[in-house]
Structure formats: structure tokens, C-alpha cells
């Protein structure tokens, strides 16, 4: 099979997939990146008593945050480790939504990595004995990318694996305003 033919078959398949949904979905370009809700180096949801300072950003952050290969590998792990079963493709389900701008335990990449590693009391499993630190940080980079926090050019425009809908980066906002867009 020539690569040209493969490409056209693929294009055809993707177009068919899209069209088969008729007019239930509207397609837009990727939603505009959301504002930085968690300024780098700060943890807005924690009180530092007596005027002490927040812990500095983990130096590993700059290796993973906004790093396209790390985000792509994190996206694969997100499916393989069944994160998708609870958080869906960012919209949430058994677990909270990850594509909005609410962070229960902090949205800084080291805070996200800590949530994945240690687990959280309302049902988030602790992954530190199942995954390596490198894998956890890649997952954290991907999770952060779901919320639109990293710069646009680092995020893959295609979702890994299969989705029955359009990639979440292309899905319209529907009829209701989401909390993360209402104020912008």
C-alpha cells in the first residue's frame, strides 16, 4: 500500500467519522488557551502562616511542563493506566474534570505530580509504587495541558487512542457556558 494511498484512506476515514455524526457536533478551531489560573511558583490555595513563603517550584517542572514529547507520552499513559476511566478525556466522571480551571489540590505541575504519586483522600489512587517518577511527571504535564495551561504549540492536536467524538480540543462548547470560559 503506497503511503499516498494510505494517507487518503486515513483522510477519508477521519472525514467519514466526522460526518457520520451529522449536525450533532459543530467544529471549531481549538479553544483559545485559558488564562494562567496558577501563576508559576505560587500555590494560591494554601495559606503560609506567619508570612512564610511557598515552597519553590520543583526544578523538574521545567523539564516536563510545556514539553511536547512529555505531554504526548503522558497522554498515552493516561489511557494505559485507566486514568481515562475516571476522568474521561478531561471532562470527568468518577473523578473530577481536568480540563476546567478548578484544582482541588493545586494546579502547579509539581502539585499535580504529587496528587498522582500520593493519591488524594476522596478516591484518587496513589500511583507512586506502580509508576516511575518520570512517568508521573509526564502524566502531570499532560493533565496540565488538558486545562489549557501550557502554551498551545506544545499540545498535540490529536488525541491518542480512539474517541467516539471529535478530539476534545475540537469539541464545541455547546449551549452552556463553562465556568472556565464564562469570565473571559
Amino acid at each position: 500500500m503506497s503511503s499516498r494511498f494510505r494517507a487518503s484512506v486515513l483522510a477519508f476515514a477521519m472525514a467519514a467519522l466526522t460526518l457520520g455524526a451529522c449536525d450533532r457536533e459543530e467544529h471549531h478551531d481549538r479553544a483559545k488557551p485559558l488564562g494562567e489560573t496558577v501563576p508559576a511558583g505560587q500555590s494560591p490555595d494554601t495559606i503560609w502562616p506567619g508570612g512564610s513563603s511557598p515552597s519553590p517550584l520543583d526544578p523538574r517542572a521545567k523539564l516536563y511542563d510545556n514539553n511536547a514529547p512529555a505531554i504526548a507520552e503522558g497522554q498515552q499513559l493516561f489511557s494505559q493506566m485507566n486514568c481515562v476511566g475516571c476522568h474521561s478525556h478531561g471532562g470527568g466522571g468518577m473523578g473530577p474534570a481536568l480540563m476546567d480551571d478548578e484544582w482541588r489540590y493545586g494546579g502547579r505541575i509539581d502539585q499535580i505530580a504529587a496528587s498522582i504519586a500520593e493519591g488524594r483522600p476522596n478516591g484518587m489512587p496513589a500511583w507512586k509504587t506502580k509508576l516511575t517518577s518520570d512517568q508521573i511527571w509526564k502524566l502531570a504535564a499532560y493533565v496540565r495541558s488538558l486545562s489549557g495551561l501550557p502554551s498551545k504549540d506544545a499540545v498535540s492536536s490529536r488525541s491518542e487512542g480512539m474517541s467516539s467524538g471529535t478530539p476534545q480540543t475540537l469539541v464545541s462548547h455547546g449551549n452552556i457556558k463553562n465556568s472556565d470560559t464564562a469570565e473571559q
Partner: protein, 618 residues
């Protein structure tokens, strides 16, 4: 090349849309006008199984009202003539904001409420003005259990028997609490959240046993039902719904009616090697009990994972109905509604025990409005299917073969790993999910609260990691033909026909209540609590609650001798997870695909937990 593509795509688009009304954006149908599609049956009709439905004493002691699961109150003060005057008597906040699926219980002047996680048990004194709290029992289930509950952290009810209240907690325990003092009598740990097991069902208490099953069909658990001794909480027996016959308690008494369910160790042989160990088959719905034959009846949940290509075979004993001896747990018969389930069509819905006219006498049967979309009438002694008719729009199956008992699949809708199968009706929650129907012996009709949803289903390989989801599917749901996402249907089980139907914009996720006053009550996900005429479906009264209603309404006689109607509002469950889980609806696959079907729900209701009690003014 491009031209060819364009032409082909046009054809695909046209075919894809023309064949399916669901593609069109249609206006939500009127939510009140009933459609009279058939005259009322005359003469003989079905009645509840006598031994399983004793005379109404004005209490409400178990979710189904009685062992027959009628959800029918013999109280008749509130009628179509006076229901317009029905007024609020008192309210009570449950201090929870998750989906509230349980009924209140009423026992001799005390009301009991069991909440979703953290499973608080309240006792309210109905003999005093405003029904003040007598006590509250806090079982303190493990918080981590919330992380392995597939579809909100619901609880489907408590049960009263012989001075005790029995209920289950999300983290897999069964409790017995003294109904007068609120003190714990015993507790027994049955489920293990590390394996993904939770318990959300209401127990059935009968014959000195407390019957309990597990949830976790989306987590790769191995489903079971257990019987505890009512006095001590000690395990009397436990039967698994997959695996070798000895584990399933299949022995010499087991006589399945149809050849498809006959054979040795089918709970192993109908699976790939070892897949039965993580194959689901949970018991999170409703049990019925026939005191005459000492048999319990219950339906079994879906096989796991959802991706059917990972489990070739019939996947016994999932998605079917078991009859078991209550004392020993021995299986007596089984009927598999959907062998090798393709669509998460759990068979856990309510089973109503009735006796129908048959020849010159009556035949003991069960009514089952099943998730797959067919209303089954089955002989409850043998499991033989007497009739199976669709009570709404179904294209995932072509019918049920009454000779072999087998459902006839529609191969066009067979999901395959690595591709998306579209326009499957009903969707994963079925034409009807867990929320039970009511059966009125006055009309002989079954009142079915249900869905009208279709779905796209993308199957992919699932990876088993204990304590995490084991699904392997991306699902996206949407309204079925007509555009209404729910319906409330009065069904004539003998003539296999719809008598009237109320189309509802949102999925109907609340159970139903029928009363001897000639009324039927149910709630909507946007918070309307409705009373309709049992004979015509005409809307006679409605009340807007503070949150969507998915709870079981009940009717009881108060200490003052008056008839009361009670319901707890509190949106949630699988259908309402989009609200209580604060989900982001830009992802259509959220909440296992339900988010896409109810994107508008967060604008129509908010989370809450509030009891509403109504009565007629003096």
C-alpha cells in the same frame, strides 16, 4: 480522487442521517400530553403475587413496598379529584449533595432516611410537629470508596424488619441499627474497595436473611450475592455470578429452562481463560422474594470490560436473571437476557411478582422491564419467557425468540475493537435503568419511568489494574428518536402494549409510585414532582423541588391518620453526574458518555438533598 471522496462522503452523510431521526435536532416534545395508544384493558388483569404483597398497614418498610416489588400504596385519600390541593407538610435537609436514589421508610410514626455517601441514617419523629430528628447514625465509610464508585456515590435504600434498620455503605459494609435507639447492632464487611467493589444497592430482608450484592461492574470485579443472618450479621452463604458451578452454587436443583443456559461450569467455559475472575456480573439492583416457594429473584449486571472483543463467549452468568433458594443460595433457574452483552445492558432492573389470568386460573409470573428494551413476562417457577415486547425504541436487537429464549442481535450494531459503532438504541443505560416501575392492581398496568437515549460506542482494549476502571469504551450518548430523552410509560403487560405515554425532555431517573387513589407519582431531573392520573396519564399536580428528583416516592399513613406522599430531591446518579461531579461538558465522553446527553442539565438544576412531604389540607 478528491471528487470521488466528496461523492462518497455525501452518500455516507445522507444515509447516516436519513436513517435516523436522532440525528435531527428536534424540539423537545411536550412533557405533559399523554398519548392514548390503546384502550384500557377490560375484565381480568394481573394482580400482585398474594403471598408477596400483604395488606397495606400504612407503613413503607422496604424500597419495593413489598416482596413482590409493586411500589403500590393501598392508601386512597388522595385522588384525581383532590390532588390539586396537595400541599407541603414539612421538609428536611439531608446535608448531602450527591444523587439521592433511596426512598424514605416509614415505620409506626418514625421516618428513616439513608443518604448517599457518607450514608447517614436519620430517624425523624412523625408524631411531633415538623418531624424533629430523633437520632442520626453515622457509619463513616472510607472516603476512598468514592473513587471506585462508577456512577455517583448513591445508595438505593434501607430496609426495616423486626426492630432493626438494615443498609449498606459505599465501602462495602452491611449495617444493622436498632430502629428505636439508633445504636449499631452489627456490621459485616462484604466488599473490598481495593478490588473496586462498592455497595450501592438496598438489601432485601426476608426469611431471617439479609441479602446483599456488590457494585463495580466497571472496575473488573467478580460479582456476587451474599446472605447474612438477620440476627448476627454472620455470612450464611455467598454465590458468585461467574466461575465454576461450585462457586455459583449451581447443583442438582439447577434447571434452566432453555438449552442456551444448560451445561457444566458455563461460568468458566463461556469466557476466555481466567477472564471470569474479573468479568463483572454484579448485583446492584433489586431483589424480589416469593414466600410461597422461598425463592429470591435478582438480575445480574454487565460483564467486564465493556469492550466485547476482549471476552468472546456468552459470559455466563452476567446480564441474566437468577432464581435461588433463600436458605441455601442454591440456583434453581437462570435466564440470560443478553448473552455476550455488547452495550452494558445490565439486567439488574426490578422484578415484579404477579399472577396473571391463564386458562381458567392464574399463572405465577414476573414482570421485567429490562434495560435492553423488552418488557418480559416470565413464569417465575421456571424462567420460561411468555412474552417479550419492546416498550420503546430499540434497534440494537431484533426481538426475542420465544422458542429458544434467545434475544436476536442486530449485527449492524455489533461493536468492534478499534472502530466506532453509531446510533445504537438503547444506549448503555438502557431503555430503562435501575429506577423501578410501579404496578397497580387497580389498573393492572405497570408504570415505567425510562430513557430514550441512543449512543455511539467506540471499543478499545482495556487494561486491567485492580482498583481502577476496566471499561475499554468511549461512549457518547444523545436523545433517541423524537428528541425527548425520557418517557413515562403505562404498560399493559398482558396485551403487550403501551396504554399511554408522557414524553419527558430529560431522562426519567426517578422510580415510580402508584396509589389506590388512582394516581401515579414520579419526578424529573429538573426537579418537578408530578402526580398523573393512573388511567389516562393526565398531569393533575406538580411541585418544583430545589434539585432534580431521582429518589423513590412513597405514600404512608401518618400518626394523624392522613395519607402523606414523600420524596427526596437530590439530582445525581449516572444521569446527573454531570451536575454533582461538576463535569466539563466539552468532553462528550464524560461520565461514560452520559455527559453528552445531558449537557444542559447544569443549567436546569443544581445539587441538593431535601426531603419533601405532602398531604391534603384538613
Amino acid at each position: 480522487m478528491r471528487r470521488v471522496h466528496t461523492a462518497l462522503l455525501t452518500i455516507i452523510a445522507v444515509v447516516g442521517c436519513a436513517g435516523l431521526q436522532a440525528c435531527k435536532k428536534s424540539e423537545p416534545a411536550s412533557t405533559t400530553a399523554p398519548i392514548q395508544t390503546a384502550p384500557l384493558p377490560n375484565g381480568a388483569h394481573a394482580i400482585p403475587a398474594a403471598a408477596a404483597s400483604p395488606a397495606d398497614d400504612g407503613n413503607w418498610v422496604m424500597p419495593g413496598k413489598d416482596y413482590a416489588g409493586t411500589r403500590y400504596s393501598a392508601l386512597n385519600q388522595i385522588t384525581p379529584a383532590n390532588v390539586s390541593k396537595l400541599a407541603l407538610s414539612f421538609t428536611f435537609s439531608t446535608a448531602t449533595t450527591k444523587g439521592y436514589e433511596a426512598p424514605p421508610l416509614v415505620v409506626n410514626g418514625t421516618m428513616y432516611l439513608i443518604t448517599p455517601y457518607p450514608n447517614l441514617l436519620y430517624a425523624l419523629d412523625l408524631t411531633k410537629p415538623g418531624a424533629p430528628t430523633k437520632w442520626v447514625f453515622k457509619p463513616k465509610p472510607l472516603a476512598a470508596s468514592q473513587g471506585v464508585a462508577c456512577c455517583d456515590v448513591v445508595n438505593r435504600g434501607a430496609v426495616y424488619d423486626a426492630g432493626k434498620i438494615f443498609f449498606n455503605t459505599l465501602d462495602g459494609q452491611t449495617f444493622a441499627v436498632d430502629a428505636n435507639t439508633g445504636q449499631q447492632v452489627w456490621s459485616t464487611q462484604l466488599g473490598d474497595i481495593q478490588k473496586g467493589e462498592t455497595i450501592t444497592m438496598a438489601p432485601l430482608v426476608a426469611g431471617g436473611k439479609v441479602l446483599v450484592g456488590d457494585s463495580g461492574g466497571e472496575m473488573g470485579v467478580r460479582g456476587w450475592i451474599a446472605a447474612l443472618d438477620e440476627g448476627s450479621g454472620k455470612l450464611a452463604w455467598r454465590a458468585f455470578n461467574t466461575g465454576p458451578d461450585k462457586d455459583v452454587l449451581i447443583g442438582p436443583r439447577f434447571k434452566p429452562f432453555y438449552p442456551m443456559d444448560q451445561g457444566k461450569d458455563l461460568g468458566v467455559k463461556t469466557w476466555p481463560p481466567d477472564a471470569w475472575k474479573i468479568g463483572g456480573g454484579t448485583v446492584w439492583g433489586w431483589l424480589s422474594y416469593d414466600p410461597e416457594t422461598k425463592l429470591i429473584y435478582y438480575g445480574v449486571g454487565n460483564p467486564g470490560p465493556w469492550n466485547p472483543d476482549q471476552r468472546p463467549g456468552a459470559n455466563k452468568w452476567t446480564t441474566g436473571v437468577f432464581a435461588r433458594d433463600i436458605n441455601t443460595g442454591e440456583a434453581v433457574w437462570y435466564y440470560q437476557t443478553t448473552p455476550h452483552d455488547l452495550f452494558d445492558h445490565d439486567d439488574i432492573n426490578e422484578i415484579i411478582l404477579a399472577d396473571i389470568p391463564w386458562g381458567n386460573g392464574r399463572r405465577p409470573v414476573m414482570f421485567r422491564p429490562a434495560r435492553a428494551g423488552f418488557f418480559y413476562v416470565q413464569d417465575r417457577r421456571t424462567g420460561q419467557v411468555l412474552s417479550a415486547a419492546p416498550y420503546g425504541f430499540v434497534n440494537a436487537y431484533k426481538g426475542v425468540d420465544l422458542k429458544t429464549g434467545e434475544i436476536i442481535p442486530n449485527d449492524d450494531k455489533n461493536p468492534k475493537q478499534g472502530r466506532v459503532t453509531r446510533d445504537i438504541c438503547p444506549a448503555a443505560p438502557g431503555l430503562k435503568d435501575w429506577n423501578p416501575s410501579a404496578f397497580s392492581p387497580q389498573t393492572g398496568l405497570v408504570y415505567i419511568p425510562h430513557n430514550n437515549l441512543c449512543m455511539d460506542f467506540g471499543a478499545m482494549e482495556a487494561n486491567y489494574i485492580a482498583g481502577t476502571p476496566y471499561v475499554g469504551a468511549d461512549v457518547k450518548m444523545y436523545a433517541g428518536p423524537g428528541g425527548n430523552r425520557g418517557a413515562f410509560t403505562a404498560w399493559d403487560p398482558l396485551n403487550r402494549r403501551k396504554v399511554w405515554e408522557i414524553k419527558e425532555d430529560l431522562p426519567v431517573w426517578s422510580p415510580a409510585l402508584a396509589t389506590a387513589g388512582g394516581l401515579v407519582f414520579y419526578g424529573t431531573m429538573d426537579g418537578w414532582f408530578k402526580a398523573v392520573d393512573a388511567r389516562t396519564g393526565k398531569l393533575l399536580w406538580q411541585f418544583k423541588a430545589g434539585s432534580g428528583i431521582i429518589g423513590q416516592p412513597i405514600s404512608y399513613r401518618g400518626p394523624d391518620g392522613r395519607q402523606y406522599i414523600a420524596v427526596v430531591a437530590g439530582v445525581g446518579g449516572w444521569a446527573g453526574a454531570v451536575v454533582v461531579g461538576k463535569m466539563d461538558t466539552r468532553d462528550p465522553t464524560g461520565a461514560l458518555g452520559f455527559a453528552n446527553a445531558v449537557k444542559d442539565l447544569p443549567m436546569k438544576t443544581t445539587a441538593g438533598g431535601m426531603l419533601y412531604v405532602f398531604t391534603l389540607p384538613r
